[in-house]
């Protein structure tokens, strides 16, 4: 992926904004879908679903997020060279929104998973429970920490994460570390209590 362009994709400087507005004027038809959508979709679909799946832990939900993200992209004027970075950031953000809005449901899932189960289903239930716990903990993280964590584990460089989240590259490590530390504590807490 193009490192520099992904970083700048999420930084709408006044110049870029003006450029976009200018481009908008040259697109007299509101809502027209950009011509390179299919090409970008086929190239980056796997990556976008992957980013969302890290957050949601569900392939179906991740594919739904990807649909939403590519729809937004299709209506955007993001330069083609910056698409991959933009899509990754949008996927992480949208998936976290979904996760946050479904927090109550996750709590219910936790309750269900914690209820007694037949011995032969115990292992599966344990995996489900752990997955639900990770998602619940992820939903509770401050937004910047969660974004930094997901983007970093999705393969974005420190410079790209820094640009996407308005952090200095030096503080990305601190932010990712805090997120990992919080999630680790959550996992350990349950492991020791269970």
């Amino acid at each position: 992926m193009d490192l520099g362009s992904a970083a700048t994709a999420v930084l709408p400087t006044p110049e870029r904004r003006a450029e976009r507005d200018d481009r908008k004027e040259r697109q007299p038809v509101p809502g027209a879908v950009r011509d390179d959508l299919e090409e970008v979709f086929r190239r980056d679909y796997r990556r976008v679903v992957g980013v969302a799946a890290r957050v949601l832990g569900s392939r179906d939900a991740a594919e739904d997020v990807a649909q939403e993200v590519f729809l937004s992209f299709g209506r955007s004027t993001v330069p083609a060279g910056e698409a991959t970075g933009w899509l990754s950031v949008a996927a992480a953000h949208t998936a976290l929104n979904v996760l946050r809005s479904g927090r109550r449901r996750t709590s219910r899932e936790e309750a269900t998973a914690a209820s007694p189960v037949a011995p032969d289903a115990a292992e599966e239930a344990l995996a489900l429970e752990e997955r639900a716990r990770v998602r619940a903990a992820l939903a509770r993280l401050p937004r910047k920490q969660a974004m930094a964590l997901v983007l970093r584990h999705s393969g974005l460089s420190y410079a790209e994460v820094a640009a996407a989240l308005d952090l200095s590259p030096g503080s990305v490590g601190t932010t990712v570390r805090r997120a990992e530390s919080a999630l680790r504590e959550e996992l350990n807490r349950h492991a020791s209590s269970g």
Partner: protein, 347 residues
């Protein structure tokens, strides 16, 4: 030398070249830091495994076919309506748009109108008075304070309506066939909401300079509606006029903030659709309508280009236009030609 911070150790795992030489040398020779580094590495691996991407094989072809934009005629034919199909999912929105036009006009009149749309012709929907004022719910993106609600109520006549709203009540020159008698007058005051954007709460891409913390005032109304009832007790004709929805900003131009909000991934479709109806000068009214239920076209009313909404069964129609900061709607269970005649004959 002090031990490097945990963040430095974390980066050392991923991008050692990004860590200062002095820090790298220190860690290599420091038992304390090496122990810390091991903990940081274990946590990173544990969490990495917990949030691993386990989607496996994907059917990109099927996913592409599923994307509405891939099959919509947006790129070739009627992009305007395709966009609307994309952004509006609730069947009540056409009614909502008309209600917005009658804003201020109001809850009572608009409810009646919606009832026609919802219970007789279109999937039943539940819609609250809060929806009718049509201020977008931006509470997830900052602080939204509604400081003035419309307080819709009937008044005795046109003079009273004008006195309360300051709006010239449009006078119908000639009632269409089948509509008779005197109208009921409804008025509503201004709806005012103040929204302060909070970039941290909103998340998403970095906003343009000045947008974080920017405050805008969204105003709709006041408005007035005249409602002629039919024998069946539903409105046969509604003529409404209101101050067009507008947004005022003392900092960054409103459009900058609006465009940033619209660019945020995850913005609910209906909020986006409502947001688009607000302009800085109240000069345009892009109506969100469900194109599978309602046809849209345009017609000339005086100097203004009006949007014409027609339900697919032709039972209901509305003509809506904005002129000089005021939005006017003529709607009812009449033919478009009859409504246009009323619209063009307003005094």
């Amino acid at each position: 030398m002090r031990h490097p911070a945990e963040g430095v150790l974390r980066r050392l795992l991923d991008e050692p070249a990004g860590v200062a030489d002095a820090d790298r040398r220190h860690v290599a020779d420091c038992a304390h830091c090496l122990a810390e580094l091991a903990v940081v590495r274990d946590d990173a691996m544990l969490v990495g495994a917990a949030i691993a991407d386990s989607t496996g094989d994907l059917d990109t072809d099927a996913a592409w076919r599923r994307l509405p934009a891939a099959s919509a005629p947006a790129r070739v034919a009627v992009p305007h309506r395709s966009r609307l199909r994309d952004i509006v999912k609730r069947p009540a929105v056409a009614g909502l748009a008309v209600a917005l036009v009658l804003t201020g006009a109001g809850t009572a009149a608009a409810n009646d109108w919606l009832k026609i749309f919802s219970t007789e012709r279109i999937t039943p929907v539940s819609i609250s008075a809060a929806d009718l004022v049509a201020l977008p719910d931006l509470s997830a993106y900052g602080d939204l304070v509604i400081s003035s609600r419309p307080d819709v109520h009937p008044v005795a006549d046109a003079a009273a309506a004008e006195a309360e709203t300051g709006i010239d009540v449009p006078e119908v020159a000639e009632l269409p066939r089948g509509v008779s008698g005197d109208p009921e007058y409804q008025v509503g005051g201004e709806v005012v909401a103040t929204f302060t954007f909070d970039a941290t709460r909103a998340g998403g891409p970095l906003p343009p300079p000045g947008v974080d913390g920017a405050t805008v005032r969204l105003v709709a109304g006041p408005g007035v509606a005249q409602v002629w009832q039919s024998d069946a007790g539903i409105p046969a004709l509604v003529v409404g006029r209101a101050t067009a929805p507008a947004a005022f900003s003392d900092g960054v131009p409103f459009e900058v903030l609006r465009d940033h909000l619209l660019s945020l991934p995850g913005l609910p479709d209906d909020v986006g659709a409502q947001l688009r109806t607000f302009t800085a000068d109240g000069a345009s009214l892009p109506l969100p309508v469900p194109s599978n239920e309602v046809r849209t076209s345009t017609a000339q009313v005086g100097d203004a280009t009006a949007t014409v909404l027609t339900s697919r069964d032709r039972a209901l129609a509305a003509v809506v236009w904005v002129d000089d900061g005021e939005v006017t709607a003529v709607a009812g269970s009449l033919d478009v030609d009859e409504l246009l005649a009323v619209a063009r004959g307003l005094r």
